[in-house]
């Protein structure tokens, strides 16, 4: 649900643009994105390659590559954090605002024990003593259901399986009781039987922790099991912003509807053709002519090719960027 100034949104992004300076000229990764996340809300961000879904949050966290530039506004708990100096940002990152990534192996330092890496967070951000921090680390491993937590504290990352490492990362991000956890494709690198376990961990946490969550994924199925609200992105813009149940049962944007059809569905009777979208997404360096989705959209008209549809409310709590939204 959209908050109308009743409480301060945990995260407020306004007119965010991210461009990269590359050889041929500037390339737009995020063209104009605005969104809010309310306290304790879980927002799912769905998009494919080139949608810009990860770049929005890399910009918010100050993690853009050297040649990346972000403009616009990103407010965390009311404070502007876009362009904040590294020292100030470091106090927030890892404690109040945490992020976990697709590949837990590259987020963990290979030569340090798990316990040390976890404890370090508390020692640095909360001034814990090493003893207290290690104790808290053991507790957090229990919370994310890592079997034999005391043994794991003494192990190195390579000794843990992929799913276990991801649990450690989730644990690490919870240590300082953050206000917001951003999970970027947390299960994409994991086996499907492990995926559901990790989703369960996140689902439980959602319930007990007083924390907002952003779940970024290319997989609508993964997001569906967890999000209150879903934002669909395409070619650097938001094309649909609606409650999860709306999106999953009554998609308004043609792209969302097609994406839903492409989600693996084991009960689908039609097997001759696998559902897919024709053509490919707008390349990062390419110009937008009208609606970026028009070339692939079955409902596109002349208007769509000439004029870019703005994001507008279709009814309360649902926003769509389309000239001809699907009316359920």
């Amino acid at each position: 649900m959209m908050q109308h100034g009743i409480s301060v949104p945990t995260l407020g992004v306004e007119n965010l643009q991210v461009t990269y300076a590359v050889a041929g000229g500037p390339v737009s990764a995020v063209r104009d994105v605005s969104l809010t996340v309310a306290p304790r809300e879980c927002l799912g961000i769905v998009g494919e390659s080139g949608s810009g879904k990860t770049q929005v949050f890399m910009a918010a966290m100050g993690l853009l590559a050297v040649n990346g530039r972000a403009s616009g506004s990103v407010r965390f708990d009311g404070r502007e954090i876009l362009g904040l100096a590294p020292e100030a940002l470091n106090r927030i990152r890892g404690s109040e605002l945490t992020m976990i990534f697709q590949d837990p192996m590259s987020s963990l330092t290979p030569h340090l024990k798990i316990g040390v890496q976890l404890a370090e967070v508390l020692v640095t951000h909360r001034g814990f003593s090493w003893r207290d921090a290690m104790h808290a680390a053991g507790l957090i491993l229990e919370r994310v259901r890592v079997p034999e937590p005391q043994r794991r504290l003494q192990q190195y990352p390579y000794e843990l399986s992929g799913g276990m490492r991801q649990r450690v990362m989730i644990g690490m991000s919870l240590l300082c009781e953050p206000k917001l956890l951003i999970a970027d494709e947390p299960t994409s690198a994991l086996d499907v039987t492990v995926q559901s376990q990790i989703m369960d961990v996140l689902r439980e946490l959602r319930f007990e922790a007083a924390m907002a969550m952003i779940l970024i994924s290319h997989d609508l199925g993964v997001v569906a099991g967890l999000a209150d609200r879903i934002i669909v992105m395409y070619a650097g813009r938001v094309v649909e912003d609606a409650p999860a149940s709306e999106v999953l049962q009554r998609a308004h944007h043609p792209y969302t509807a097609l994406l839903l059809e492409c989600v693996p569905n084991l009960r689908d009777a039609r097997l001759e053709r696998m559902p897919c979208l024709p053509g490919q997404a707008l390349g990062a360096g390419m110009q937008e002519l009208g609606c970026a989705f028009a070339p692939r959209c079955p409902r596109a008209t002349e208007l769509c090719r000439l004029e870019r549809p703005p994001l507008r409310a279709v009814h309360q709590s649902v926003q769509v960027a389309c000239h001809h939204p699907l009316s359920p």
Binding site: C42, S161, S196, L248, P264, D268, R273, C276
Partner: protein
């Protein structure tokens, strides 16, 4: 029953002391698609490579049209490669960055039809490019100028240049966007229709395997645990691991956002495959299996027939067959609008 094009018997591959593949046997007929499903550590990629003798096998035979690919001399093997082509998981990585698309497609022709005139070769290249949905102009460009999906089309074009009898596809769509995967799968199905190519389709993605396969093999830690015709596997999976795989596919129409689900309880499979080469005695799956009992620890289960064309390697399959199908309970009806 058509003549088997490919007969694999007891194929085993070891990496040092670790058995990546143990005693794998199956057959494949002309024009048939065999789906091979497994997660990390299942040995499916190892199987693909051992099959084509890209890595050495410890044991076993691979009979291809009367020739054992694993023991024949390298000249014979190279001749057979004309009809045994492969498509890879990393579409860009499987193309030489310093060769144009045209040069990459020309290579199979240069190797196996060296007498072909340059003009005819060019014509064949352009024809194949169009056939896979690319423009003729693509021949002049380099792989890095194309998207993942397009690179995979190039890889398919290269593999199909000589109309091979068998196409081994190792996770060909796993690195592509969900909305693009269907394009490649549909293309493969079309090519199979047109050229009668048999396909060995390896993937961890059940939904994709379901679209393209006639028969399916399920692998776990280097062994085949179940083998069935497509519809039989998805309707009535016999092995607990197969059931776990089916249960684990998230269903977007469910959206139980407010309801916490207790971890590991509903699933037939808990935990994860072991890190490293922990080789349990008896059934390889027993450490994760909800239904494991004494016998599972003592004896390695052999593949037994469940019905015609359906085999499973599990001691307890009969008991499970009579219990309510967990896939049904995991897959709920969509909420009414």
């Amino acid at each position: 029953m058509n003549d088997s094009l490919l007969e694999v018997r007891d194929l085993s591959v070891n990496f040092g002391a670790f058995s990546a593949l143990t005693g794998v046997s199956f057959s494949l007929g002309a024009g048939e698609t065999l789906g091979l499903v497994g997660e990390s550590g299942s040995g499916k990629s190892t199987l693909a490579r051992a099959l084509l003798r890209l890595i050495p096998a410890a044991r076993g035979t691979v009979m291809w049209r009367g020739v054992d690919l694993l023991s024949c001399d390298s000249a014979t093997l190279r001749r057979q490669r004309r009809d045994l082509q492969m498509i890879f998981q990393d579409p860009l990585g499987s193309l030489n960055p310093r060769m144009t698309v045209g040069e990459a497609l020309a290579e199979p022709l240069e190797i196996f039809e060296p007498g072909l005139a340059a003009r005819d070769r060019q014509a064949r290249i352009e024809e194949m490019l169009e056939r896979v949905g690319l423009v003729r102009d693509a021949a002049r460009r380099y792989p890095h100028e194309f998207s993942g999906g397009q690179c995979q089309r190039i890889g398919i074009a290269r593999a199909m240049m000589l109309r091979p009898k068998l196409l081994v596809c190792d996770e060909p769509v796993s690195s592509l966007d969900v909305s693009i995967q269907g394009q490649i799968v549909n293309l493969l199905m079309d090519l199979q229709q047109e050229f009668g190519t048999a396909i060995l389709f390896i993937s961890h993605n059940l939904a994709v395997v379901r679209h393209i396969s006639h028969r399916v093999l399920v692998m776990y830690l280097g062994r085949i645990v179940e083998e069935a015709a497509r519809d039989a596997l998805f309707a009535a999976p016999a092995h607990p691991y197969t059931r776990a795989l089916l249960e684990a596919v998230p269903d977007p129409t469910r959206a139980p956002a407010g309801i916490p689900r207790v971890a590991d309880d509903n699933l037939a499979a808990a935990g994860e495959p072991p890190v490293g080469s922990a080789d349990p005695s008896g059934c390889v799956f027993r450490n994760r299996c909800r239904y494991a009992e004494g016998i599972c620890e003592r004896e390695i289960p052999r593949l037994e027939p469940v019905s015609a064309q359906h085999a499973v390697a599990c001691h307890r399959w009969r008991a499970l067959a009579t219990s309510p199908d967990p896939t049904q309970s995991a897959v709920r009806e969509p909420r009414p609008a």
